[in-house]
Symmetry: C2
Subunit: 208 residues, 2 copies
DNA sequence: AGATTGAATATACATTATGTATATCTAATT
DNA sequence: AATTAGATATACATAATGTATATTCAATCT
């Protein structure tokens, strides 16, 4: 006799609520903790009012939980505004807006810093985060293609893309923030640096 | 009766040799390992042909060993050339040279990447590395002071210093390298970006 | 109403690390 | 010959991830 399986609205809702509570507890723990080293599933489970095994049930592993937290932060981090930014008529203005959006994203929730720390100890999680960052790279590439003069070399374009990609990364944001800047001040510095990175693409004489 | 203590040349030499062997084994393990997570004192001790307790005897802790490895790499990483670079007549040429020296340093031994990963899980080790990086910041600050026009605002100077500090950091080097560049190509990109960062310091009209 | 299902729990265990404590061994030195 | 310091042997405490098994309990199906 085949087992009769069913879907339960009330059950699913309860499960989803548990998931949310655990993710919330995890990001809070990341935010308030001193270091990713102290981030344990035990702590998270207790903070969420569930058992450690429930965390495993829901997320499979520590890595699974971290990925879920990252995605949750991304969902509420304002990255959806990128779509609008990319369709702006002026690609330079779009780039400025993109920098704004990412500075806001990196600064919104300090848990993202801890998640970047987690990349150091978990190569597969690092890969997952890098994949999510590829969207940013594609965005930059698209803008550079619109900004670059026709005679700009592929190498010059690649240089600009990679440099701007690095300038808009979390580590750069963190480094500039650590030097005692507000989010808006960091944003301004990064924007200026990105403008400078565009220079070689528009000069009519690209002789080095 | 007070214990009669003594220094032993042969003993000291043997100890120093042990220390060196452990540090060598540790940096090799860092270089060859996939992740800092797999870096354990057990592994290092076995690779060095000593006991784990000997490592504790010599370095006190995992952190102590990591710091010793970092210092060893720094000692042989060519950073001593910085002294000459800083005394160059042309501060812009000095900055170019500085970028060269650091690109060489970051790329010389892949263990430095793993040591930067270790910063994520050990706040005190991170602090120790940051202190060692402060030398780079001071170098940049000195050069900027020589390059900046008199009318350049303190804010513009600080912007340039912090940006160049970020551009010459390991994370930036790693990001540009990951995009498929040789050490020299990364060096060229960083140098160009640093030149651009100097622009606002020399324009006679620094109106924002 | 009674059987069944699935999420959450309880309990236990294996494994891997760091770090501490104590006693012993051994070669260098007095 | 006694002593000293570095290295070792052995044991233990603690914390963390991950797996396994059985159980509780409310929601759902027949």
């Amino acid at each position: 006799m085949p087992p009769r399986s069913y879907v339960s609205p009330a059950r699913s809702a309860a499960t989803a609520e548990t998931r949310e509570r655990v993710i919330e507890a995890a990001s809070r723990t990341l935010r308030e903790g001193e270091s990713i080293a102290r981030f344990s599933l035990d702590t998270v489970a207790k903070a969420a009012g569930v058992t450690r095994l429930t965390v495993y049930n829901q997320f499979g592993s520590r890595r699974g939980l971290l990925e879920a937290v990252f995605d949750e932060i991304a969902r509420h981090g304002g990255l959806h505004q990128l779509a609008d930014a990319m369709t702006m008529a002026d690609p330079r203005a779009a780039l400025d807006r993109m920098v704004e959006i990412f500075c806001a994203f990196w600064s919104r929730d300090s848990a993202v810093g801890r998640l970047h720390d987690a990349m150091a100890t978990d190569p597969e999680f690092a890969e997952a985060v890098r994949e999510r960052n590829e969207r940013r790279r594609r965005g930059v590439t698209g803008l550079i293609d619109r900004i670059a003069a026709k005679q700009a070399s592929p190498q010059a374009r690649k240089d600009a893309v990679d440099l701007i990609f690095a300038l808009t990364s979390y580590p750069t944001f963190a480094s500039l923030s650590a030097a005692g800047r507000s989010r808006d001040e960091v944003c301004r510095v990064v924007q200026t640096a990105c403008h400078a990175a565009l220079q070689p693409l528009t000069l009519s004489n690209p002789s080095s």
